[in-house]
């Protein structure tokens, strides 16, 4: 006689292994993300757009036979007539198969999964370790979104908010009482059911979340010397920055300023699309920023962040002025970031102390175009501390490192 029984387990026993697997996939995604963050295709997309990134599959390596002629297989022809030399396919049947949400593709014998993620998810993966620094409590606060918070218990409530723990506690208390009174005998195998009075529900209250106001200034050089490639790097940098801020803070104001010899406050769209021409006077945009701050964003009320991105060249005569203005902006802002686009930069590591990017050797790869132009990089060094940071980007791969340097995230190699 066989035994039949219904499965009793209520827990999903694969859940731990699945979440571990998921974590590993996410890690793999994170690792490949750095290769795709500066891809043309993702810059300028909105948050809902799905992007495909190739991820190294989580393979379980074994000793297996290679895919060569000596490694044959056997198959059945079924009802079909088969003959020698007949072509029956292009690729060896793939072992394994699709995994997770991705699809398997086989390249150079290495297994890659195309995982589809939205920009929002991408931001989630990228930015969890990073924080916008030093958000100070300013005088005026604005109220952002209300959220619902659990607070205490009530006897009345809707079913989904039933508190199992409190309900059970009340039942246990009632049973103990019944036992003491002698109306219930636990020795007798009698059920002690829940009573309607046992039920307790979570109570929820809307909670207002306070947030300091923050404003971010994006300053970009759009002078003639900003070649297409340079501009692309700058745009990628800002794009990442923008995604980061959007992700981290519910409410941030963003001001876009582009400049050549004169500066203009532009829309987000224009900022990322504008064409380049003219000379470079950095102070023009710094001036404009200071004006805007004075008019609209009082430092007592607002957290101010400034990010400048350019090729580092400036009209020599303007350098003094620019430096003074940088100093002034540094004092006004929580954080000022200065990013130089320089193709000769090869991602040197810190060999001269406080500068994270090997500045001492910088002079050798600086590209001088014009005697009247001078590079600002070295001159900015005295300003550098934790409120003023400068980074250099020479290639798409540096963007992520630069980004981490600005926001103090762990740089994963």
């Amino acid at each position: 006689m066989s035994i039949f029984r219904k499965h009793k387990s209520v827990v999903d026993r694969t859940s731990q292994d699945r979440s571990r697997h998921k974590k590993k996939i996410e890690k793999a995604i994170k690792e490949s993300i750095k290769d795709v963050i500066a891809e043309e295709s993702i810059i300028g997309q909105n948050g809902k757009k799905k992007i495909r990134i190739p991820v190294r599959g989580l393979k379980e390596y074994r000793f297996i036979f290679g895919n060569n002629e000596k490694n044959g297989s056997v198959g059945s022809g079924g009802e079909h007539k088969v003959k020698r030399g007949q072509k029956i396919g292009k690729k060896r049947a793939q072992k394994g198969g699709a995994q997770g949400t991705g699809h398997a593709s086989n390249e150079k014998g290495d297994e890659y999964y195309d995982v589809e993620v939205t920009l929002e998810e991408l931001a989630e993966y990228l930015f969890t370790d990073l924080e916008l620094p030093d958000l100070e409590k300013k005088q005026f606060r604005f109220l952002s979104q209300k959220s619902l918070k659990r607070k205490g218990y009530r006897f009345e409530g809707i079913r989904p908010r039933l508190s199992k723990k409190e309900t059970l506690k009340r039942k246990i208390r009632r049973r103990k009482m019944a036992q003491n009174r002698g109306t219930y005998d636990p020795e007798q195998d009698e059920r002690f059911p829940f009573h309607k009075d046992d039920l307790k529900y979570h109570h929820i209250k809307p909670k207002k979340k306070e947030n300091s106001a923050a404003v971010i200034f994006f300053l970009m050089d759009v002078s003639g010397s900003m070649s297409q490639d340079r501009k692309f790097l700058a745009r990628s940098f800002f794009f990442l920055l923008y995604q980061f801020l959007n992700h981290k803070y519910e409410k941030v104001e963003v001001v876009f300023i582009s400049h050549s010899t004169s500066a203009h406050r532009v829309s987000e769209d224009d900022f990322f699309k504008v064409s380049t021409h003219g000379g470079t006077i950095i102070s023009s945009c710094l001036n404009l920023e200071v004006e805007i701050i004075e008019k609209e964003f009082h430092p007592h009320t607002w957290n101010i962040y400034t990010f400048y991105c350019g090729d580092g060249e400036n009209w020599t005569a303007d350098n003094e002025k620019s430096l003074t203005l940088f100093k002034k902006i540094k004092d006004l802002s929580q954080l000022t970031g200065y990013c130089e686009i320089n193709e000769s930069y090869k991602g040197l590591t810190d060999d001269d102390g406080d500068d994270a990017f090997g500045i001492s050797s910088w002079a050798t790869f600086s590209a001088w175009k014009n005697e009247e132009m001078e590079n600002l990089w070295a001159k900015l060094s005295p300003l550098c501390d934790n409120k003023f940071k400068k980074v250099m980007v020479g290639d798409t791969e540096h963007i992520w490192t630069a980004f981490n340097a600005l926001f103090g995230g762990k740089i994963s190699s």
Binding site: T14, D17, Y61, R62, F65, S73, V74, R84
Partner: protein
């Protein structure tokens, strides 16, 4: 709504048991668990075992089957049964009665095979569920132990899994221990004084159980790491006999379920869908070898030629390799319409090499045997451990080259476990290849 109750199952179970007894089958009692499809997917991820140690690869397996199932690319198995005493089997709640009847009769066939086939002699069916349970608890405790943690456990398990098929390929045989071998050599020395073997060697003969060898002889592993290797090794040893008898086991179970259900005197509304399902299970898969098909047809031929009693003897003494070697002939292979194929680099295509005619059938048979069970896995063994503690591995080359990128990764895993130097000798395109 399902068309059956537990009472129906018991009613038919009684009849199935009576017929199976009349056939002279001898099987473990079977405990059926009635589960839903989600639980079936979970059970599948852990190869059916009710408790199993944690590892992310089982989560991956779950996601894989779940995705395939949801996309309709694969159905769920009708049957899953564990080689234990009593045998544990699963019935899926969503299935109709005739599927359950087929499954139950099929499970009797499997359980009979587990109990009688000689490959399974060392699988310890009485305690196997307990030993998986304690392994699972051990791994969980290590994961929760702050001085070990999940990353360390995974590091070892990842590496151990990479060589889990490098275990001896003769299940059902007891191996001589080191002391046995020393005694044997000493005996030989007595008989022939000029015979001077080196008895100080760590391995007196090549060791085919790579996992166990590393666990026992590595000088760097911590105790818990050794234990993890041995857990993986034990579970491998348990599954190896099943890999060795897939075709026979399924063929036998299909033979039994067909025999039993034909004698159940089923009403048409159960019998017709059963026959349809049966034919689906044993149909040939185009371009592949369906073990249910091959095994069923081969047993059918043997029963026709020699009778059922002879087939019962064969199910005890053979494994897939010997079974195919003995009973595949030209006529049968032609009927199965089997052919061999391979990937041609120059044409960038897969083409057919040989077909089952009087010229080619032996090649087809040999190729088939090369692709059965563990023959699909390269054979790698420990040739020796040298005095400076180098682990010398050898790939026994049978004409098929290793996949080098994969081999490189596994090699790195082995180096990580061993802690000292490791060498691996193989051949690639007829040249000696050494890592």
């Amino acid at each position: 709504m399902s068309d059956w109750t537990e009472r129906d199952l018991m009613h038919w179970d009684e009849k199935i048991i009576r017929i199976a007894q009349d056939l002279g089958l001898d099987w473990y009692p079977i405990d059926y668990e009635i589960i839903d499809y989600q639980e079936m997917l979970s059970a599948m991820a852990y190869t059916g075992l009710p408790t199993h140690y944690r590892h992310w690869s089982y989560g991956k397996e779950y996601e894989r089957t779940h995705t395939l199932y949801n996309m309709g690319q694969t159905g769920l198995p009708y049957e899953m049964i564990i080689n234990s005493n009593p045998s544990m089997a699963y019935l899926m709640r969503e299935n109709p009665l005739y599927v359950h009847l087929l499954t139950m009769a099929h499970c009797v066939g499997h359980s009979d095979f587990f109990k009688n086939n000689r490959m399974f002699i060392n699988t310890n069916p009485n305690n196997i569920l307990d030993s998986f349970k304690s392994a699972s608890r051990y791994v969980r405790e290590l994961i929760e132990d702050p001085s070990v943690g999940i990353d360390n456990v995974e590091k070892i398990l990842d590496a151990a899994h990479s060589i889990k098929y490098q275990v001896p390929r003769n299940p059902g045989i007891k191996y001589k221990t080191h002391n046995d071998l020393v005694a044997l050599e000493q005996e030989k020395m007595k008989e022939d004084p000029s015979y001077r073997p080196d008895l100080d060697k760590i391995l007196l003969q090549p060791e085919f159980n790579v996992l166990k060898c590393i666990a026992e002889h590595s000088k760097h592993l911590k105790d818990y790491e050794r234990n993890l290797l041995l857990i993986v090794e034990e579970s491998s040893q348990y599954f190896i006999p099943q890999a060795f008898t897939k075709i026979m086991n399924e063929g036998w179970a299909c033979t039994i379920h067909y025999k039993i259900l034909n004698e159940l005197n089923l009403p048409d509304n159960l019998y017709l869908p059963f026959i349809k399902l049966h034919n689906q299970v044993i149909r040939p898969h185009l371009g592949q070898v369906n073990p249910y098909h091959l095994g069923y047809k081969l047993f059918a031929k043997i029963i026709e030629d020699k009778g059922f009693e002879e087939a019962k003897v064969l199910r005890e003494i053979h494994n897939d390799i010997t079974f195919l070697r003995c009973y595949l002939d030209e006529e049968f292979l032609q009927e199965m319409n089997y052919f061999t194929y391979s990937f041609k680099k120059d044409k960038k295509a897969i083409t057919i090499d040989d077909i089952s005619d009087d010229e080619g059938w032996e090649k087809v048979r040999d190729e088939l045997i090369k692709n059965v069970g563990l023959n699909r896995v390269p054979l790698i063994y420990v040739d020796e451990i040298t005095k400076d503690n180098t682990l010398c591995l050898v790939h026994e080359h049978d004409g098929r080259d290793l996949d080098l990128p994969y081999a490189r990764k596994v090699f790195e895993y082995i180096e990580g476990l061993w802690g000292d130097d490791v060498t691996l000798v193989s051949a690639v395109e007829n040249e000696i290849w050494e890592f």
